[in-house]
């Protein structure tokens, strides 16, 4: 688990402690639920956006974000830096899902609790023209850009992705250069 995220380093800790008596378990569970609910309400959208910036489609991003949040809830008392943890876990899960897709994907995604109206996704995506740029970037540049947009420094990103800091900066620079060219071309088209 990362210790590199000052944004959530002061999360009140829940001592794991012995959990034998049901009353005590109830109390810990209530505290966990309260803390986790606040965290979920604040972070589920940025986390989904983080995965979308990685190049994931909205439905896959929401599914992964929800799975990671479920894992975070299950391990809540162990997490000291939940924001960094969910970002790292989500990033890994996305890479795995890309690497392991072997089954055909349905054309129309099914509604889920988190995304009740998948039919609205296409119209939503059309409103975000930066997505087409981000999706056109090579994987490494896209990853680095997504982490940067989520507010992590090159040093943080280097730690999370297991890359040298110089490599992260170089990829960020290339991604920005591509973005500049994209903007210029778009302006010329208009």
């Amino acid at each position: 688990m990362s210790t590199l995220d000052p944004a959530d380093s002061d999360r009140p800790g829940v001592a794991p402690g012995p959990l034998d008596p049901p009353v005590q378990r109830d109390r810990v569970r209530q505290q966990t639920d309260t803390e986790f609910s606040a965290f979920y309400r604040e972070k589920i959208r940025p986390l989904t956006g983080f995965l979308i910036n990685h190049g994931a489609c909205v439905q896959a991003a929401a599914d992964i974000a929800q799975e990671v949040m479920t894992d975070a809830y299950r391990n809540w008392t162990r997490l000291t830096h939940p924001r960094a943890w969910v970002h790292k876990a989500a990033s890994r899960a996305l890479v795995r899902s890309v690497a392991s897709v072997e089954e055909p994907v349905d054309d129309m995604p099914e509604p889920t609790s988190l995304v009740p109206r998948p039919d609205a996704i296409a119209e939503w995506e059309a409103r975000h023209d930066a997505l087409s740029l981000l999706r056109s970037l090579p994987m490494k540049q896209r990853q680095v850009m997504a982490w940067t947009l989520a507010g992590f420094t090159p040093t943080d990103i280097a730690h999370h992705l297991g890359l040298p800091v110089d490599n992260v900066r170089a990829n960020l620079k290339k991604a920005r250069r591509t973005a500049a060219a994209y903007l210029k071309a778009r302006k010329e088209d208009q």
Binding site: M1, P6, T70, S100, V115, H128, L149
Partner: protein, 382 residues
């Protein structure tokens, strides 16, 4: 505060454009995401746990159960040669209430494991299990197990030491080099405790599988690494995360079984296809049992595929009248128009429209809810 890098000259416009995008992204996602429904889905686990704990204050379920049931039999997938750690006490299907079974049906891990089992079942039954397909199925479950192992083990440990970072870099090398790195790393990790070695092993195996293509020789090396993993897990079993360790150990052993199978087909050895089918289905079944154990914070549930189906789908004699089924997917539930008791919000006539008759021989008035057709919200709001 986390700092952002300073913009350079012509990057200003890009910086501003991306900042606007990032600002708008979470806000506009409100149009698509139902945050409260997503949160309710996760907190369902908690409501279920609270209900279960409250029952514990008035019931001595274990004593009552022991007086009725025979000794639970050993499950098909985990090798039985190691005695169970006390904290790995298995769950017995008949000890679970209808409320618990409903909660399990809608647990994401259980649902995902069941889907994988059903998918494998369908493939294995519909097609003649050719060697190539058997090898594919064995490799697929091995990959899933390796990834699950990694998730089991890196939840609360910091992987940011140098060797693990090096290994992450191996993702971009060839498969062979990645596997060699995975095999070398545990030796290089002598200065860390066993868990670190285990995690790095799991990482190595998962990342090796992430890379496309493999040869029998390479698989053999992965297999050896999986064996190292299983042994390291045995050494780590006395650490205080017995559930996690127990689950990971079961997965490590099944990983070795899956790799054995994939290796046999990779080398073109003649293998009994029924045996291959049995091993693959048993491993997937064990994964469902482990997901159930995880959901209940217990050891894995030991049951074969038929008993799992009864546990999770058969509500023909269940009293569900006091259970909050809001938002619960009832697809696949077997119910009886005579003996299943539903909450008042459920209209059983409406539910029949969303159900098929049970198979011949299942008795009169038995229905099976069609997948993807019914939640309580659907039935109640019509």
């Amino acid at each position: 505060m986390t700092r952002r890098p300073e913009p350079h000259g012509h990057d200003q416009a890009v910086q501003q454009w991306l900042a606007q995008h990032q600002h708008a992204l979470p806000r506009t996602l409100d149009d698509l995401l139902d945050t409260e429904a997503g949160l309710r889905e996760i907190l369902l686990h908690s409501h279920h746990d609270t209900a279960t704990d409250n029952l514990d204050t008035v019931l001595d379920a274990e004593a009552g159960l022991a007086a009725i049931l025979p000794t639970p039999r050993t499950g098909p997938a985990d090798t039985p040669d190691t005695p169970l750690h006390p904290a790995e006490t298995p769950v017995h299907p008949r000890a679970l209430s209808p409320a618990e079974r409903i909660a399990l049906r809608n647990n994401r891990d259980v649902e995902a494991a069941r889907k994988a089992l059903a998918h494998t079942h369908d493939i294995a039954n519909v097609h003649d299990l050719a060697p190539g397909l058997a090898r594919h199925l064995a490799r697929a479950i091995a990959l899933d197990l390796a990834i699950a192992l990694q998730l089991d083990l890196d939840l609360d440990l910091d992987l940011r030491h140098g060797v693990a970072r090096d290994l992450l870099g191996a993702r971009y090398l060839t498969l062979e080099r990645a596997i060699v790195r995975a095999l070398e790393v545990p030796g290089a990790l002598d200065r860390y405790n066993d868990f670190d070695s285990v995690i790095v092993c799991a990482l190595g195996i998962a990342h090796a599988f992430d890379l496309s293509g493999f040869s029998p020789l390479q698989l053999a090396r992965v297999h050896q690494s999986a064996g190292d993993l299983a042994r390291a897990l045995d050494r780590a079993r006395d650490l205080d995360r017995a559930h996690d360790v127990g689950r990971a150990r079961g997965r490590a052993r099944d990983l070795v079984r899956a790799l054995d199978l994939a290796l046999a087909f990779g080398f073109g050895r003649n293998r009994d296809m029924d045996h291959a089918r049995g091993v693959i289905v048993a491993i997937h079944t064990a994964e469902v049992g482990r997901a159930i154990g995880l959901a209940l914070d217990r050891g894995p549930l030991k049951a074969d595929a038929d008993r799992l189906s009864v546990l999770l789908d058969d509500f023909t004699t269940a009293d569900l009248s006091d259970i909050d089924l809001t938002g619960v997917d009832l697809g696949g539930v077997r119910w009886s128009e005579h003996t299943t008791r539903w909450p008042p919000v459920i209209d059983s006539e409406d539910l029949k429209v969303r159900s098929d008759h049970g198979p011949p021989g299942s008795g009169s008035g038995i229905w099976i809810v069609r997948s993807g057709t019914a939640t309580v919200r659907d039935c109640a709001e019509r």
